[in-house]
Amino acid sequence: MKPSPDMKQDVAEILLTEEEIRAKVAELGARITADYAGGELTLVSVLKGSLPFMADLMRQIDVPLRIDLMEVSSYGGAATESSGLVRILKDLSAPIDGRDVLLVEDIIDTGLTLNYLLRYLRGKNPRSIKICALLNKPARRLVEIPIDYIGFEVPDRFVVGYGLDYGEVYRNLRFVGVLRPEAYEEPSQP
């Protein structure tokens, strides 16, 4: 189904307003600043969903930091059929050995992607790796991974906005909302 021209019409409910997100990002940034005071940090963002969160979060952290971006293939995507295995589509642009790394995620649900990324990044010998996720959906968890910084726990519903997409759409909504089932369900046959 095509998204509505006014994307908000496809949203059943706003879970997190722009103001709530902004306040939480500031809070997370303050915690991270305190925890890494006196040190340096490398933020690693996982494309594409965590881009808005990364962009806002980095400006709330007051320690010297670098940023880097990674992208991994997703199950069901174009890369699935070619290899059947998750692949790094975009790797880090700089080494992280000996550095403190903070992996920035938009949402953690099954933990499968995060589990893969952590194994990959640990192989690059950083001094430490911590995880910061704006949203946590524990009901969907298959792989239990300790998350160091969590913005919000969200219910077991399909959420979009603030980087989160459905079919690559809705990422630019400034809030996080629940997508209407009509936006992804096939119309029932008569």
Partner: protein, 180 residues
């Protein structure tokens, strides 16, 4: 690029009773998560002579997470029996970690991976590869769990038993196709 170690070779002799199980196996393979299919049978009900009346073999075991996963894509109102089995398993084997993956969880997973259109053919009765063995019908409400802990020893399912249980559907996973 030093990627994580490659996963195992495909296991064409791993059969699945249901298309949703094959799909979950493909997802786990994709993300390089080790899994075993129905590796253990847990007795969960005995008669007075100590004979096992009812057992439960969760679909998957994820050794790296020490987690069993049972997937059911039946409609929510039909999963009472499965819920009861999981409750008994947890009561009798408190050290065992198990996650029950419901139809709504599977549906959400498919939606997340852009495969929502496949849900109907991977779920419920339609997704069954072949009629399975008749499930026991003992109502769990009759069972008293007290005093049973000493008999609660999971069995390692024999290879032949696993193969018998799985033989019906091996081709689907080997083919790597979500179609039934």
């Amino acid at each position: 690029m030093s990627e994580p170690e490659a996963p195992r070779e495909p296991k064409p002799d791993y059969g699945f009773a249901h298309a949703s199980e094959a799909e979950l196996a493909r997802i786990l393979d994709f993300y390089q998560v080790a899994w075993e299919y129905e590796p253990q049978v847990f007795p969960i009900l005995w008669d007075l002579e100590g004979n096992v009346l009812e057992s439960f073999a969760p679909d998957f075991y994820l050794p790296d997470m020490d987690l069993f996963v049972e997937i059911t894509t039946l409609q929510q109102r039909l999963v009472r029996k499965k819920n009861r089995k999981v409750r008994r398993l947890r009561a009798l084997y408190p050290h065992v970690r198990i996650k029950l993956f419901y139809a709504r969880d599977f549906r959400a997973l498919m939606l997340k991976y852009g495969r929502a259109a496949l849900v109907s053919e991977l779920s419920g009765t339609v997704g069954q590869f072949a009629p399975g063995p008749v499930e026991e019908t003992i109502d769990g409400s009759a069972g008293d769990l007290s005093g049973l802990e000493s008999r609660a020893v999971p069995e390692r399912r024999s290879r032949s038993a696993r193969r018998r249980a799985a033989r019906r559907a091996a081709a689907a996973y080997a083919a790597g196709s979500p179609s039934v």
